[in-house]
């Protein structure tokens, strides 16, 4: 019972900022600065007006498209990579090198990335964001998938090769069908990483047409005053679908993260 109370307390603390976000989003513009915890009057006008103030629809679409694209790209590259790192004698070392690259602060890559993308004509485009976020997600996705591959007994690969399959078709026909939970987990994790990315997006895609939600929210300013209520509403609209997705896929996420952790 005591444990439960402590846990509930922890959950409450963690959810407080989001509750306050909701409270801000639900009050009319005049009430925003009165610093009360709960709104005096409840109104949905922020949720409507925010679409006039900024291109919220475009931003949400950009965020979703680039994050889904990046997740797919990361997993398409990471799956065969993880199959190699998990099965090859010296695969461990490659995985460590991959992960080490992920530990470097991403900002060091910004300037070269900017020039590379400009050279390829991909600045201020979703394709550019998909490429950068997708490649940046490969180490994490490979690390997650590596743990899933290792849980599949190697004799299954061996049986497949003896039964006449090449390495590539073993991966496709035998390993991949067993790897689905891992693939889903890796897709989700890399999706969240890209969806929440601010750094790459703010340098590499700044036009109105290519802005993602994170960049849009940071630039949320009217001429005279900041529209806190609308900003909160926009934040919630960006947050809600991801929350729902995370809850729906909880089974895969928890399984995925712990598999990677205990490997």
């Amino acid at each position: 019972m005591k444990v439960r109370l402590v846990l509930l307390g922890g959950v409450a603390v963690a959810l407080l900022p989001i509750a306050y976000l909701l409270s801000l989003a639900l009050r009319p513009a005049g009430e925003v600065l009165n610093s009360s915890l709960l709104p005096d009057t409840v109104s949905l006008e922020n949720f409507v007006k925010v679409f006039d103030t900024i291109e919220l629809g475009t931003m949400l679409t950009n965020s979703w498209v680039s994050a889904v694209g990046a997740a797919v790209l990361a997993v398409v590259i990471a799956t065969p990579a993880a199959y190699f790192t998990a099965r090859h004698v010296r695969g461990d070392r490659l995985l460590t090198i991959l992960l080490a690259s992920y530990c470097a602060p991403p900002i060091v890559a910004i300037i070269p990335l900017f020039f590379l993308l400009r050279y390829a004509g991909l600045t201020n485009s979703l394709a550019g964001l998909v490429l950068v976020n997708g490649l940046a997600g490969v180490p994490v996705a490979a690390w997650l998938l590596d743990g899933f591959v290792r849980r599949i007994p190697v004799e299954i690969d061996e049986a497949a090769v003896i039964d006449g399959l090449s390495v590539a078709s073993t991966l496709r026909k035998v390993i991949l069908p067993l790897l689905w939970p891992g693939v889903v987990a890796a897709l989700l994790v890399t999706f969240f990483l890209s969806y929440n990315d601010f750094l790459f997006a703010v340098y590499l895609a700044v036009t109105k047409e290519s802005q993602t939600l994170t960049v849009g929210l940071s630039l949320f300013q009217g001429d005279r005053n900041v529209q806190f209520g609308q900003q909160a509403a926009a934040g919630l609209l960006g947050l809600a679908p991801v929350y729902v997705l995370a809850l729906a896929a909880q089974r895969y996420l928890v399984g995925g993260l712990t598999t990677g952790a205990t490997k």
Binding site: I162, G164, S169
Partner: protein
């Protein structure tokens, strides 16, 4: 159907030779068993024949064709693994048909042959199930059917029964033997269980530290072990091995004397099978019974004599004539059947003529 020739096979891990210049021929249609303690190189040898591991030296030929550099795909071998290695996402029928489908056999034909193979191992009723819905014994039957289905040149069995319980092991090993004989396909079978090896082998190969200790029929290895390693490994309970000297047809060592025909030698090892050790109750005997085990039709006695602990197997019918139930502490005379003893050179461990 093909004979298999392994010539000068060598495999080294971290400077340790796991397989050391091993040469072996599997006659066409025979079942050869590789047996030995763990780490003797038997599984590695099998995996090199399968192509799952590469050899550092030597060659493997199947049906006279050198396959040393070939992938397992093209060697036309079928393998049964210790942990079954079924494809968990496929039904039993699809598992069995899998090798056929990969080799271009049409769907209907593959399904028909899969059913036929399932029939031969008695799992026709399970064709629509998934592997996880089967018991261990059933799973291994599926794996055997998957090996049978495409009539390969060679069957490879890597400790196929080690994960099953004792009763099922006995049942399935005679079935593997039957299926192999019916199909007439050359087979290589790895096990650490010498009893399993004895019961199914045409040709028995005992491995010791990556090298062949002896090759022969199970009976040859039991009757005339070439060295103390094979003598101790084959047979259950193990052969008694006593060190001492041989002079004038009498073996003497550490407080025991037995008649043993052979040339005089200062350092010999006398080998006596437990069933060739004669134990009879006697007040003035030199031995004492330490442990008594009744295994139905026969008794196993652990007897101390001189500085030795000896194992004797005595028919229960013979013990019945003792007039008393044997118990620890009983004093007995211990002798050997002199015409059945084995003599080994103590220094080399090799059999003396």
């Amino acid at each position: 159907m093909s004979h298999v020739d392994v010539v000068g096979l060598t495999k080294t891990y971290d400077d340790r030779a796991v397989v050391d210049d091993l040469s072996l021929t599997l006659p066409d249609g025979s079942l050869t068993v590789l047996v030995g303690p763990s780490g003797c190189g038997k599984s590695t040898t099998l995996r090199i024949v399968a192509g799952l591991e590469s050899a550092d030296g030597g060659t493997v030929s199947i049906g006279g064709r050198d396959v040393t550099a070939e992938s397992p795909r093209t060697r036309d071998v079928a393998m049964v693994f210790q942990n079954y290695a079924l494809y968990p996402h496929l039904s039993v029928a699809a598992n069995i048909a899998f090798p056929l489908r990969n080799n271009g056999v049409a769907k209907d034909e593959a399904a028909r042959r899969a059913r036929e193979a399932a029939d031969r191992v008695g799992i026709t009723a399970l064709l629509d199930r998934k592997p996880r819905q089967l018991s261990g014994g059933q799973q291994q039957r599926v794996a055997i059917a998957r090996a049978l289905v495409r009539t390969p040149k060679v069957f490879l069995f890597d400790e196929p029964l080690s994960n099953l319980d004792a009763k099922l092991r006995v049942e399935l090993r005679s079935e593997i033997r039957r299926l192999q004989q019916e199909s007439g396909i050359t087979a290589l079978y790895v096990t650490h269980d010498q009893e399993e090896a004895m019961t199914i082998a045409d040709q028995l190969v005992v491995l010791d530290a990556g090298a062949i200790a002896q090759v022969g029929t199970p009976e040859e290895l039991y009757r005339r072990p070439a060295n103390t390693f094979v003598a101790a490994f084959i047979g259950s309970p193990s052969m008694n091995l006593l060190q001492g000297a041989l002079r004038g047809g009498t073996f003497e060592g550490d407080g025991v004397r037995f008649g043993a025909p052979g040339a005089d030698a200062a350092a010999v090892t006398l080998g006596v099978r437990p069933e060739d050790l004669l134990v009879t109750p006697s007040e003035h005997g030199e031995g004492t019974i330490e442990i008594v085990e009744l295994l139905g039709p026969r008794y196993v006695f652990i007897v101390t004599a001189g500085a030795h602990r000896l194992t004797a197997v005595v028919e229960a019918a013979a013990v019945a004539s003792w007039g008393k139930t044997p118990a620890p502490g009983d004093v007995v005379t211990v002798d050997v059947r002199a015409d059945r003893v084995h003599l080994f050179d103590t220094a080399s461990g090799r059999r003396r003529a």
